[in-house]
Symmetry: C2
Subunit: 139 residues, 2 copies
């Protein structure tokens, strides 16, 4: 999917693609594939790859170590993603469309029938501090 | 060039592509074309488009308002970019390769013979505070 979208990865990045199943063991339904380009103290950039109808479950990024939580901009590259953000109606992102999710704001998202590739531009990623609504989830 | 690289832009983004000639009036030689996806208080993401052999002249991003200067990761999407960063040998980035430039570090870059598209992931962009080595330059 990434190569078809014109995304070129190094061999090391291909070997390091992260598959997140959130500890639920049904990754095709609830899961996410990630390529992390960079994650420094200040900046993070990733590609999120979603299979058709795959869902990333509801969570938020709380403040950590005196800093506001993670701020994320999702930019759709291919396919369609349905984004649900606390305080907003459903947001549908098509290729070239984007939305910025402010810190500590509950959100979840699901790919449309073709799946999706979404670029994420954000502050530092500390996935282990994410707070998921479903208590069964382990990140 | 962007469409060929699989980058989809909205009409508003196409209308807003910034051409920086750095006040020198010879943009094909010294210049840069930019698509700014997002630039918040904390995060910025852009595509930089360089024509063949086009050069972005030497500059640095100093501390502003009590914050460290801008930190930038350049990720080459297409073509080749030759990156010159103070304290490093020349860095040649090919598609899928990237380099992070720390704050307040002098750097300049030039595209190879095919031009280049480079994604930039950074902290907040405040172009007006950049310090260029050539005193003739106006940003």
């Amino acid at each position: 999917m990434l190569a078809d979208a014109g995304v070129v990865l190094t061999q090391a990045e291909r070997d390091d693609i992260e598959v997140a199943d959130f500890g639920l063991g049904r990754v095709e339904e609830i899961g996410l594939q990630l390529v992390v380009y960079v994650n420094t103290q200040r900046v993070c950039a990733k590609e999120l790859v979603l299979f058709p109808h795959q869902t990333c479950p509801e969570h938020r990024h709380p403040p950590v170590a005196g800093e506001p939580g993670k701020e994320e901009t999702f930019r759709c590259r291919t396919g369609t993603v349905h984004l649900h953000v606390d305080g907003h109606d459903e947001i549908v992102l098509r290729p070239g469309e984007q939305f910025t999710i402010m810190p500590d704001t509950l959100h979840w998202f699901q790919a449309g029938p073709e799946g999706a590739i979404v670029s994420e531009f954000s502050t530092r990623s500390r996935d282990e501090t994410d707070v998921f609504t479903d208590p069964a989830i382990v990140r």
